[in-house]
Point group: C2
Chain length 355, copies 2
Amino acid sequence: MRRLRLLTPGPVNLHPAALAALAQPQLHHRSPEAGELVRDLRDRIARLAGTAGEAVLLGGSGTAAMEAAVRALLPPGARVWVPVAGKFSERWCEIARAAELVPVCDAYDWGRAVLPEAVPAAPLDGVLLTHSETSTGVLQPLAELAARVRERHPEALVVADVVTSFALAPVRMDAWGLDAVVLGSQKGLMSPPGLAAVVLGPRGLERLRPAGYYLDLARELRAQRRRQTAFTPPINLIEAAAGVMAALESEGWEARFARVRRANERFYALGEASGLAPVPASGAERSPATAAFYLPEGAAYDEASQAFAARGWRVAGGQGPLKGRILRVSAMGYFEPGELERAWRDFAEVIAGLA
Amino acid sequence: MRRLRLLTPGPVNLHPAALAALAQPQLHHRSPEAGELVRDLRDRIARLAGTAGEAVLLGGSGTAAMEAAVRALLPPGARVWVPVAGKFSERWCEIARAAELVPVCDAYDWGRAVLPEAVPAAPLDGVLLTHSETSTGVLQPLAELAARVRERHPEALVVADVVTSFALAPVRMDAWGLDAVVLGSQKGLMSPPGLAAVVLGPRGLERLRPAGYYLDLARELRAQRRRQTAFTPPINLIEAAAGVMAALESEGWEARFARVRRANERFYALGEASGLAPVPASGAERSPATAAFYLPEGAAYDEASQAFAARGWRVAGGQGPLKGRILRVSAMGYFEPGELERAWRDFAEVIAGLA
């Protein structure tokens, strides 16, 4: 059976530059070529994240990078604020607890924007934010939240999950006052999953403390400054992601961001024209990484999913409290010429047949 | 420039089944096909490891699996014995310290076998052993060591690194009394680096405790029993490794082990015929994963390495106290028809020209 093409908000269809890298003979991670790839990808990531700081690559998923960032930047007992408005902000909360921090996890309705007014007045050592909340399709006002944190708690570290905003929307660490962000290979970088990164701003670099072993960012940073890695890295994925970033840079990031945003808005326009309600509440900014809709009353997600599969597409449902209630599609991956047009047409036809 | 072919003891030249898997369109890790791959690879690994227990897959390097096993099986304060006779047994010691165990790290000359008589009499909660010590080329007598531990310390958990013995030599967890072993994708499984596994024997499964977040084996085991993973897994590497295992199984594991052992012995025969002294001490069993030689007096590793590179091969040098003093080659990867014969010929010619 032909493999379904992905309309899921990660993983996504691979960029041809990623597939080309994966077809290469195995590279040894201690070779000069590998060292150059490590340097190249670290530089590209830090530049796109808008920081004078540095990226640290990790073998693992985005969650590995989230945990590494928390443990390396905040000691046990640290008081952190986590506004929870979806599955990934909830994960920050779980990781903070596992790392023995003292998180204040404020719950918001899923689909809502978290407003800067929500930043608590009580003393904080850090905040753990989510830029693009993939589970709801909301792009949280990260710049405004970070600015309010800096104002109220100048010493608190600002850490953000940009897993589904990086390479899809602007992320400006130094300008916005972000001390660390985390990302993964299988979203805007259109590569397979298994590679993640923590990008450290100048203050993040200063505050780094040794923590753990495999996920110890301080150890990795020392190695990566010498174009090495502390342990065997997923070098094939490093080559893939570096190749994709080089290809996207030659297109220009602003053009790429605009293209993905327009493609995603097209899904929203088609869905709303068919009477589907968007998951992001009115007033919440929509993430370019996914278009999320409530299913019509009485429509089952499994049936919708099967209708898409019959046309060759894999889509995503809801997570947590939204499980079974929503449908998510994404235009952030790679599409062959004409493929996205076919996706829009099939999307319109399938949702017209729902309920 | 053509990429060098690998004679290194990991990573290795990719098996065609791995390359075929990597050329596939991206699979979604929550699809039924992905669930079946997770089940298939877990089953194949547990079967080849010789246990009625279960494998847990992890996104990361072999070191990630080492740390996950230590934290999940041994609480802070646990007394563990670590016989250190190379870089990878040294790593067990470092991980045990990072996890706040109380390790007794007994140092042996690198290249020596650790004999069962060395098992200490003082009370122990666990032992951390290394089967194939890749840094020296010694295959430690794992079955005998484990038997002695079981005899002296019936309650102590026996954990072993089989990173460069798995799929290269017999590993019989239940028969030998191993409670957990760790392995990675980039050695005998001839796949890219980035996927690791901890295999738990029946007693390892019983003693599992929650630990950490991303590397929490208990959480992963619960998810993987449902054909899921707790976090986004390196599904492309899971497909690659499962494909390679299926191909090797159809050849038969005993035939594969014998073929790799013979190919490695051929390097030893050629090296010894040229007067090179093997790193494994006399009496120590040689690992099939690498042939390691002391360089002749006055011969520089960099020159040897460059001579191999000029012929299209990448070889490995020494680590730790053996850095600059030894040369390592490996026949554990994939070789095209005639390629291994060419490797032997080039090896003989290059070493004849040393010093």
